[in-house]
Amino acid sequence: MPTRVLIPSGVLGLGFDRAALARGVTMQPDIIAIDGGSTDSGPFSLGAGQSKYARAATKSEWADIMAARRAARVPLVIGTAGTCGADATVDWMADITAEIAAETGERVKIAKLYSGQPADRVARALKEGRVQPLTPAPEITSEVLATMTNIVALAGAEQIQAALATGADIVIAGRTTDTAIIAALPLSRGENPGACWHGAKIGECGALCSTNPTSGVILIDFDSDGFTVEPLAEGAACTPHSVSAHMLYENADPFLLYEPGGHLDVRAARYTALDARRVRVEGSVWVPGPYTVKLEGARVAGYQTTILAVLRDPHYVAHARDWVVRLTGFLHETIRHRMRLPPEAYGLEFRLIGVDAALGMLENQAGAPVEVGVLGIVTASSQAQAAEIGKLINPFVLHYPLTDDEELPTFAFPYSPATTDRGALYEFALNHVMRLDDPMEAFRLEGETLGEKVPHAEAR
């Protein structure tokens, strides 16, 4: 008997084809698995411990998927809950789940898998030589670790299996690898491990491995020799090309994938069309290795205030770079005199939209834009200081002349006030792996049934 995994979408919050999900339920899956996150939008989510998606979008999709689970009578797993998989976003997701269960009157047993890492645990592992940098890695010390607002470890299949073993109807997991939530059940049933990880990688973005990427829903059958993938939306198809090309996506190496406890090697994989919609894959190999989990961490790197001016005056458009260089020099002096701040105590950068705002120093094309947007970014050690610098530079960004002997220009400010306080700037501060003796030693499980606290799994 193969193990059948139903994947509603590549990520909760982006939508999926509801008819295709209903069709998936009738095909009797053994589990429903969906990813809840990614680092793709940047460090803010992890730094602040917040979901990037709207609560309303998350709740509406999650309610549909919970209903699908009820109908299918199988476990449901979400990985990297709330975009970043921090402890706070696991609780956020559990709150939404409880709200839906209360609305539907459903009795549901949930297991929460927490991936958050106390800084001192990682510092101890660092001291014991159990933390290794990947390439390229920021420098870390116990002091740097202590400044991080959130550190998470990426759980693998073992931690998801432990959560499923509690008998939970719904597993709400903190940070996991994208693949672990899909691979966990087929692996525990003894299906081919190379196929489990390879199929999970193909399925982790939902229908992105098919000809209709936005339809979301796919079904994967795992067995002792390989896996078979099929998209469930009307008219969608998987082809050997669409499936094998997915190994390229957001992946530095298209043939090797590192996971806790080993790596996947797909160099010998064979992709065969079973019919016009389904693809069979065999020959992928799982290579066991040391049990390490990847770490992610974010910390505050400053606070920002921005200002945007638009130059339409052709004289200034033609000399935008010279203007910004002259303006920057003047502003550094003004800030030094009026705020007693040397230039190295803060950041002040102007990016020219219409010239090289996207590529910066790498830009090798030049044109003649009609207008140029000047985006000023102030980065300081507190929001109050960034805001003060923003107010100080505001009149000069509006009126500063290109040369001393010309009239004061007035540029276009699109709104009032011209400055915007952005809050904290977070940075990713870890690209490391941590070696564990026991997969559960850095993770914590908590169980709950419909509001009443039932601690059925020990915290370790």
Binding site: T39, D40, S41, G42, P43, F44, L134, T135, P136, A137, P138, H241, S244, A245, L248, Y249, E250, N251, A252, D253, P254, F255, A301, G302, G347, E349, R351, A357, A358, L359, G360, M361, L362, N364, Q365, I377, T379, L425, Y426, E427, F428, N431
Partner: protein
């Protein structure tokens, strides 16, 4: 000399985690793949992104007619210096690369 984008089906780039970026060149057919694979000089591609050539990984994937380059992001995703959170606009430097 034609630009790469005029010869191939698609050029795309995307983050591969916060510290890496990957650029995929979809050549479409075997003849184009052979031509582009021969013409794209790894060192020149590294220079395009201001990265040391020894850090650039290159995969010539004949089964897919794809040439893939992966390298550390010129700046870490989301840092104060970052200009492109998703790394998708870097593809255009490659797309505009002139092919002899």
């Amino acid at each position: 000399m034609p630009k790469l984008a005029e010869l191939v089906v698609k050029v795309r780039s995307k983050n591969a985690g916060p510290f890496w970026v990957t650029v995929d060149v979809f050549c479409g057919d075997a003849a184009t793949f052979s031509r582009i694979a021969a013409a794209l000089d790894t060192a020149a591609v590294a220079a395009l992104y201001d990265q040391p050539a020894q850090l650039l990984k290159r995969f010539d994937i004949i089964d897919l007619n794809v040439i893939k380059f992966s390298f550390p992001r010129p700046v870490v995703q989301g840092s104060a210096e970052d200009r492109d959170m998703h790394g998708a606009q870097w593809a255009h430097l490659m797309a505009e690369f002139e092919i002899a």
